[in-house]
Symmetry: C2
Subunit: 186 residues, 2 copies
């Protein structure tokens, strides 16, 4: 999965591993996070498969900075992946729900405490999402240059859609927690 995220970003412009990590943390990481270790190894794998090329920037400094560029094969791979629609839904994996499921015999007060911790965290996440301006992402991808791709507007709309998902998700969780806490207090 991460391979497609990397190809997806490199499809916009050449980037190094560190920049990819930053981009992911601020965008796709909210629904598919990755550690830098995995990013570097996956980039290596993509290069071995000829889907990206890399070059060390010798020009301006002695920093071992490696910039990755997508190849035509890489773009084809990305397009092929996108063209095959998902036919199942994503599986939820949420430890909190497992904990709640088996919390029947726990002290209600303890369960409520835990739910309140979660509530605070989700509240923070909601606020973080709402603070992200829609065009913020545009700025991240294109620091001080005009868009390298013709219509980043269509992309921007999709980015906003995933942000919208995050907001709806966090609101839903907050409502669920509030509802459950109230029930447990009664």
């Amino acid at each position: 999965m991460l391979r497609f995220i990397l190809l997806g970003f490199l499809n916009y412009l050449p980037l190094n591993g560190y920049q990819l990590k930053m981009l992911i943390d601020q965008s796709t990481g909210h629904f598919w996070h990755a550690y830098h270790s995995q990013i570097y190894t996956t980039l290596q794998a993509l290069e071995d498969q000829g889907l990206v090329t890399s070059q060390t920037d010798e020009s301006d400094d002695r920093l071992k900075r490696r910039t990755y560029e997508i190849t035509e094969a890489g773009r084809a791979e990305l397009r092929a992946w996108l063209s095959k629609p998902m036919l199942e839904t994503a599986q939820i994996k949420d430890e909190l729900l497992v904990r709640v499921f088996f919390s029947g015999q726990r002290d209600h007060a303890d369960v409520i405490d835990e739910l309140r911790i979660q509530r605070r965290l989700h509240q923070q996440q909601l606020e973080a999402y709402m603070a992200i301006a829609a065009d913020h992402l545009l700025k991240v991808v294109t620091p001080e240059a005009p868009p390298p791709v013709a219509s980043l507007k269509a992309d921007s709309r999709m980015w906003t859609a995933t942000l919208d998902y995050g907001i709806r998700y966090e609101r839903m969780v907050l409502e669920w927690i509030d509802n459950l806490v109230n029930q447990l207090k009664a």
Copy 2:
């Protein structure tokens, strides 16, 4: 994680691997699924650690049926896990969101088609959740006997809470998809 799910169920009553698989599929599997291969190997690991014991039923047939029972150490392990509250939120991992994120350059019609497939699947899941009566789970766990644990009522409430989560989640996703489809059509 699966270890705690297994301990959680075995904390109610002794079960074999197959029964655990069935129970998971119908309950916790909605937020933490598991393949039978992992269930059997994890049960073996739990036994090696003295958290469960097993015995082959020789009594009535030649079927190699192995029933697992939780030990006192197992109950302690489960209690210890439950008593330590989660301090982070679960990470979402949703391929659909990754796909949407990078779908800016795709044909809108194709994206809409894909979203409609997802809509149908989520609609079905929502209906499945709503069809599950709250006491259904009670029946699954205690087929034709009185509850082995004093108050399964408290547990039942928690099970219902996770089911409620599922319903809220599916509704949220449906609304998000409808909203996005409408936007893409405009």
